[in-house]
Symmetry: C2
Subunit: 356 residues, 2 copies
DNA sequence: TTGTATGCGTTATCAA
DNA sequence: TTGATAACGCATACAA
């Protein structure tokens, strides 16, 4: 007689179907090929359906020692880019019976801003804004996918104890962890070639104020590409990834002496949005007075006026590939290491420089 | 002798400390007030530290029947708003030893777009983009916090079997589930009063194309407030929450016959961004020719030019209050039901209408 | 104050 | 083909 106040267990199903509890486990685990008769299997499935049976995950995890759950560590939830990464990862995970849990690293982005003092019932909450998922993580997770922008938070604590896949991270510096990368270098090359082809020679690089491999690549590649064309100069200015930060930095750069740049290459779309504001304040028009490019192709890119020429990153594919790599690692296989191609999207923010 | 290939268990700790396993459990569970001597307690803590002991969550969950984990169901991850909600919820959860798992509802927003055909190793992946967390959720979750925009996905499947808190949902229609709401109605009132005070009388309401309580409130309140001032008219046009959708809908509305509206009230900031583009295409200037307002106060609001007058929603406080309410429900207490105040932020997109 | 024993629900090993 | 039985690691009621 099943206890009425609690959820049905596999024993309840067994009793209802008139079989042993082990048989239930085999049938529902789809491991009964030659071990249980078709008739009993069907009886079991029917009983399970009738009772609304759901296996107890805690018990299964305890028994198996695995959770079929992985953690996706992202630098911040504030961008739609990582929403896409999650979607892709979750899709692949699902196809393999895995789940994905999101962990937005509190300190992953920029110089850790002082956590705004929030109050709970009048009392200030403790500083640490988000719990550390690694405290007991090793017992609850089979693996970790982490963006390089959150790498510190990861390895500093506990992450490398678990099978790990790094996203957008230096392949040679990742301590042997598998890496999955977008071909950012090629994206920057496309941007540079596009602008050089239009005739631009004086570049301003609005760089993200974050020490992360993915941003170093942008700088290096832009420098390399422009260096191949004589008479080309690149000036660099750094800004935190925020509208305000980018606006301020751009204004400062434009106020500097010397000839004005004709092309402004931004490390991402958000920086470009801030740059637009700075340009407008100084009465400069995009693209007539100066061309601007971004990188990401967020919704923001088309919200701007004129629409932003930028590099489209396939976030979902990125997430898919990340999860596939982790599955490979868990499986003892070698993960695929080909970079993910990216694509320049030319819109209204780039044009030939004004005839001088 | 602890097995070297596996993580230390409470038994290993007990052995190292020379006590029983039960003692370890008591000490580490902070339930040893008068049951264990201070000396042994310290020995246990030291051994645990030395071994790097982490309790096995699966075992604890199985034993206790609770997981101290709740699910946060959001309509989509694509907005920074829900990032804030998560942060707030996770902060409060953490302070109570709970964890928060994010579930971005695939069908929460708008007419469910056909999932893009993605391929895995050349084979198309199954349609369902994201796994159903409710399949075994009851075994793995203690409760659910759900945005009203994802309510269907929720109750249609399994959500109401679990302690539930609805966010931004009709308090009278939520089947007895606790609700936590932002005072959207007051926000719309503030917007309406602001515009009416500036002298506007012909309104266009750019409404979200989603059947959700929170959007019904906006429409109702705008109608009510404007109705109190004689000579005021409100026309409504619906659009999906996307830049493109909003642009198209706004262009269509502006092409309609009759006097042009002097104020455009948008259901959220993203719609306002689309409206900006439509206005610009028609050569209308904000705010000289037409005032525009949003609702949310996303980063997008200040990326626009001119910056958007909008209603600031405190997403983090929203999340905190949601989690507090769920904790109250789990605790058998009555959740606080006061609405969360919101605040009009006046920027450059609103001005008195042109003298006619 | 300490140690022993039991069960949570599952999967997997073994005999029947 | 099937059915007992053990074990995963922890928390707790109970005996010492």
């Amino acid at each position: 007689m099943p206890r009425s106040s609690t959820r049905p267990t596999s024993r309840d199903v067994a009793q209802a179907a008139g079989v042993s509890q082990a048989a239930v486990s085999l049938v529902l685990g789809d491991k009964w090929r030659g071990r249980v008769s078709e008739a009993t299997a069907e009886r079991v499935r029917e009983a399970a359906r009738d009772l609304g049976y759901r296996p107890n995950l805690a018990a299964r995890n305890l028994r198996l020692g695995r959770t079929r759950t992985v953690l996706l560590v992202v630098p911040a939830l504030t961008t739609e880019f990582f929403a896409g990464v999650y979607t892709g990862a979750a899709r692949v995970a699902s196809a393999h019976g895995f789940g994905v849990v999101l962990y937005p690293s509190p300190e992953g982005i920029g110089p850790s801003r002082p956590s705004p003092t929030t109050t709970l019932k009048g009392r200030p909450l403790r500083a640490a804004p988000i719990p550390d998922p690694f405290a007991s993580a090793q017992a609850a997770l089979d693996g970790v996918i982490a963006s390089s922008m959150a790498a510190d938070a990861l390895s500093a604590i506990r992450g490398d104890q678990l099978p790990l896949v790094m996203l957008d991270s230096d392949p040679s510096g990742s301590l042997g962890a598998a890496t999955v990368n977008l071909d950012i270098a090629d994206g920057v090359r496309q941007v540079a070639d596009h602008l050089l082809g239009l005739g631009h020679r004086r570049f301003l690089h609005l760089a993200a104020d974050i020490a992360s491999w993915t941003f170093e690549v942008r700088a290096r590649e832009l420098a390399a590409r422009t260096a191949s064309v004589p008479g080309t100069s690149v000036r660099t200015v750094r800004a935190p990834i925020s509208i305000e930060g980018a606006r301020t930095a751009t204004e400062a750069a434009l106020a500097a002496p010397g000839p004005r740049p004709t092309a402004l290459v931004c490390d991402d779309d958000k920086l470009a949005a801030g740059a637009y504001k700075a340009l407008r304040r100084r009465g400069l028009r995009v693209p007539d007075d100066i061309s601007v490019t971004g990188l990401d192709d967020l919704a923001l890119a088309t919200a701007l006026d004129p629409e932003l020429t930028t590099v489209r990153l396939d976030a979902e594919l990125f997430g898919e590939r990340g999860m596939q790599a982790l599955l490979a690692v868990l499986d003892g296989r070698e993960p695929e290491s080909r970079d993910i191609p990216v694509e320049l999207v030319v819109r209204g923010s780039t044009a030939p420089p004004r005839a001088s």
